[in-house]
């Protein structure tokens, strides 16, 4: 935000006026604070009594005397205020201030999320904010007022609005949006305080600007150590403190425990290290559960805690990476699906129905690598998870058709689904007409095959019983897996030494059946498929496409300012993106990019946001989210290009996808 001197000057002007005016109603304000905070009541007692005389003295007077004195205007508000303060001490501060100026309450707490307002910076330093959601804030609001916005953090929740009103309040602004944006400015000054950070993470949609700088400040060094193992605590507990310190440095934790408090899975640290925390979490959750008021999430020490309760299981995500609740919930959902995939729902339910204190670690034995692979994917940032969509290998439509036909022709009777997957990207799929494949199921499979190394490392062919919860969470299917190396040298017929390659790029043939005896049938089919694909040249096409990798953004749109984009086709539940090269080669750069995508995604998916285009500017980048009924597009460019250039590139991406649609996506697929 280098060029907003003009803006901030305007801001301070506004701020001053606001402060000046706010002096006038200050007595009721002081009164509100004093009367509703129990702890501080004693110390500010004098002030309270003095200020409150109208209220406290009036209530008895109204009862005992019949004098026809007309009630003072603020009285009703004050009475309400007292009642509110009684039932909820925690929120009394905010409520009191709200009620202290009842005529403002409606404006200040209008449920405007910050995502409704967008700031645009121009090269020449001028800026404007426009309301993207015309329904809540008319776009005709004077831009001058918004010019003062530096940080968006303050926008959104009513809590901010209220606490901010202590410091400054501008009665001149008529609309909620205006008030909030100004408050945001004021709050921006104090955003460095721990208390502020605590507050800010409570919002559904974290601010992209901030999270990027936030990453800059703190995560840079530590993120590289995010995946380091934490060693076990020594028997004598000598290194416990040190290990605990390392544990606390992790930016993201996943915990799974049973409702009886038994640990089931945790990404970092061993049992001895974190048993205390498990106990605390379980206590907190069950406290709310006992009150029939399920705890969904809370913020503490800059970390967002999101809790998902699934039958007998509690799943907890703890993140300092700035994802919002909905996004963390999707991740927890995936971990839960992995557990279901191992056990099936009836087994899981029975285990706990028979014995509430069941230790689920035993039945889940051996699946920690799968859960950890998922967890680490989420920590690194995963476009498929964010978008809940699949990525396909880009090949020509006719080429894909040949592969589909090959699968259909060689299909055996017991086959349910047949897939060809190349390094996590779908090449081809055949399925029965009446069954589709759920993306979350495929995510579990891809995670097992391409992220966790267990299956690939074993070599040979695999026969894996698994439950695909999206397909049927009550029973197992059986998956035949065979890898074919994508490297050129392995092109010759490789019978027995198929497993020798340790290459990254692998092509997997997955054949799924409902019959557990059908291994040899599917094996025969696999041999036929590979043989045919070799013969009709498809295998070399796939290998070439895998080796070529994703095109860069500039390959797709020559000369574009875009560094990266995600395009999700809603109808196909698929997405496409360019290579991370050359701008996002390091893990940290990728994490930042994904954080930005998460923020954009959160903004356009906020509950009450109906915006179509969301534009973000930060120190490192400008970015754009564009949502239509057909697609979602998220674009990121460097900090310098103009908004117009970004918009043009976005248009070109959409044109490119439209042109290449049948290459980057699998449309229809092959059914039998």
């Amino acid at each position: 935000m280098g060029h907003d001197s003009e803006g901030s000057a305007a801001a301070s002007d506004e701020g001053n006026t606001a402060t000046d005016r706010s002096i006038a109603p200050s007595p009721p304000e002081g009164h509100g604070v004093g009367s509703t905070i129990d702890e501080t009541a004693a110390s500010v007692g004098d002030l309270q009594i003095g200020a409150e005389s109208s209220a406290t003295s009036h209530v008895p007077s109204a009862i005992h005397q019949d004098e026809p004195r007309p009630p003072l205007p603020p009285r009703p508000g004050n009475l309400d205020l007292l009642q509110e303060g009684n039932y909820s001490p925690g929120s009394s501060l905010q409520r009191s201030k709200k009620s202290a100026r009842p005529q403002l309450q409606s404006t200040a707490t209008t449920a405007l999320s910050r995502t409704d307002i967008n700031t645009q910076s121009y090269q020449d330093g001028s800026r404007e904010t426009y309301a993207a959601s015309a329904e809540t804030t008319p776009p005709s609001k004077p831009a001058g007022v918004f010019g003062s916005i530096r940080m968006f953090k303050g926008l959104g929740g009513s809590e901010t609005g209220d606490s901010a009103s202590v410091k400054s309040y501008a009665p001149t602004l008529e609309a909620g949006g205006d008030v909030e944006s100004l408050l945001g400015e004021v709050l921006g000054a104090s955003q460095g305080s721990p208390a502020w950070k605590l507050l800010s993470t409570q919002y559904e949609a974290p601010d992209p600007f901030d999270s990027v700088t936030y990453e800059d400040d703190e995560a840079t060094v530590e993120f590289y150590r995010e995946f380091d193992e934490i060693r076990a605590v020594d028997p004598d507990g000598g290194n416990e403190e040190q290990q605990l310190a390392q544990w606390q440095l992790k930016r993201k934790h996943f915990l799974i425990l049973s409702s009886a408090g038994k640990p089931i899975y945790n990404r970092h640290g061993d049992d001895n290290l974190i048993s205390g925390y498990i106990g605390i979490i379980q206590t907190i959750i069950s406290f709310y559960e006992g009150a029939n008021d399920q705890l969904k999430g809370f913020t503490a020490a800059g970390a967002r805690f999101v809790i998902m309760s699934q039958g007998p299981l509690y799943l907890v995500a703890i993140s300092k990476l700035g994802e919002n609740d909905a996004q963390l919930r999707v991740q927890l959902e995936a971990l839960y699906m992995q557990i279901l995939s191992t056990l099936t729902l009836p087994t899981l339910t029975n285990l706990f129905a028979n014995r509430a204190s069941t230790d689920l670690r035993r039945p889940l034995q051996g699946t920690e690598p799968l859960l950890s692979a998922l967890a680490d994917t989420f920590t690194r940032g995963s476009p498929p998870t964010l978008l809940s969509a699949l990525e396909c290998l880009k090949i020509r439509k006719s080429q894909r058709q040949v592969i589909n036909d090959t699968l259909l022709r060689t299909k055996c009777d017991t086959l349910l689904y047949g897939l060809v997957v190349a390094s996590g990207r779908l090449v081809s799929v055949v399925r029965p007409r009446k069954h589709s494949l759920h993306p979350s199921d495929l995510q579990l499979i891809f995670n097992m095959l391409f992220e966790a190394r267990g299956v690939k490392a074993g070599g040979g062919e695999n026969w894996i019983p698994l439950c695909l919860p999206g397909f049927n969470k009550n029973g197992y299917l059986y998956m035949y897996v065979s890898f074919v190396s994508a490297s050129e040298s392995d092109g010759e017929e490789a019978d027995d030494d198929r497993s020798e390659s340790g290459k990254q790029e692998e092509i997997a043939i997955l054949l799924i059946s409902a019959k557990k005896e059908s291994f040899y049938d599917l094996r025969k089919m696999r041999d036929a498929v590979v043989d045919q694909l070799d013969k009709n040249g498809s295998m070399s096409i796939i290998k070439a496409a895998v080796r070529r990798g994703r095109p860069t953004a500039t390959d797709i749109v020559p000369g574009t300012v875009l560094r990266h984009f995600l395009y999700k086709s809603k109808g196909n539940v698929q997405f496409t993106m360019p290579s991370y090269e050359p701008h996002f080669t390091t893990m940290l750069a990728r994490r930042r990019l994904l954080s930005l995508y998460h923020t954009l995604h959160a903004s356009v998916h906020a509950k009450n946001a109906r915006l179509k285009v969301h534009h973000c500017i930060s120190r490192d980048s400008i970015s754009l989210a564009w949502v239509t009924p057909l697609f979602e597009l998220y674009c990121v460019a460097g900090p310098h290009p103009s908004r117009n250039a970004l918009a043009q590139s976005a248009n070109k991406v959409v044109q490119w996808v439209r042109r290449e649609e049948e290459r980057v996506f699998i449309i229809g697929g092959a059914v039998f």
Partner: protein, 249 residues
């Protein structure tokens, strides 16, 4: 042996189905990986379901093509095991020399195989992770120096080293006595160093009765011997060949 096999007229080749059973994390997949690829991975992730691999084993008068089912050891996969051992001619029941519960589990598997698998099944009891015991370094050396006596020597060492307070929890004697009682082949192996791995498979190949071979034409070498003593003898004979074969690969 391996060299001459190339020049000689093709020996009769037969396939033998083999299943690996045993508690989780005793090293079943590592044994297979060592046998098939002559490779070892530290901290290998657990097998999910089962892996199917093939490997040829060259004997003096015939070639055996092993079709190996490497099963996952976790409890929840136990119900699938019959599918894998039903038609198997041989089984490797593996335990971890450093983990007493794994031998208990191994005995369960042996009992189940004897009850439910096909009657003539050749079962080998294998104590793995010899490298974690004190005698590992000496045992690892023996194949290269004294090929023919390596196994016996290694086991003597094992007996001697027992009191030295290493990670070993199950004595060689305990394992061998149980194997003799039940009429099983018996080996102590290290998938990490490779000690005795080829020998196990060769011994199994030799122990498969001639009559079970679909296409066998030559005489059986160690035909039908299922006692531990018999296996020991076979093992000693085959040792040199196993080592050579390893080099040729």
């Amino acid at each position: 042996m391996a060299d001459s096999a190339g020049a000689a007229p093709p020996k009769p080749s037969t396939s033998v189905k083999l299943v690996l059973l045993g508690e989780a994390a005793v090293g079943k997949s590592s044994l297979v990986l060592r046998f098939v690829n002559n490779d070892f991975q530290e901290n290998k992730e657990p097998t999910i379901g089962a892996a199917f691999l093939t490997q040829k084993s060259h004997l003096p008068h015939r070639t055996i093509k092993f079709e190996i089912w490497d099963t996952a050891g976790q409890e929840r996969f136990a119900s699938l095991a019959p599918m894998y051992y039903r038609n198997a001619q041989s089984a490797l029941v593996v335990y971890d020399l450093t983990k007493p519960t794994s031998l208990v589990k191994a005995k369960h598997w042996v009992a189940e195989l004897q009850r439910q698998a096909s009657p003539g099944i050749v079962i080998a009891l294998v104590g793995n992770k010899l490298d974690l015991t004190n005698e590992s370094s000496e045992a690892a050396d023996t194949p290269s120096t004294t090929n023919t006596e390596g196994a016996a020597e290694g086991e003597e060492n094992a007996d001697a080293a027992e009191e030295n307070g290493d990670a070993r929890k199950i004595s060689t004697k305990e394992g061998r006595e149980y194997a003799e009682e039940e009429g099983l082949l018996f080996f102590e192996t290290s998938a990490k160093s490779g000690v005795n791995v080829q020998e196990v498979f060769t011994a199994i190949a030799n122990a498969i009765p001639e009559t079970q071979m679909k296409t066998s034409k030559t005489q059986a070498v160690g035909g039908g011997t299922q006692t531990a003593l018999g296996a020991e003898r076979v093992n000693l004979n085959k040792r040199a060949e196993g080592a050579k074969e390893g080099c040729a690969c």
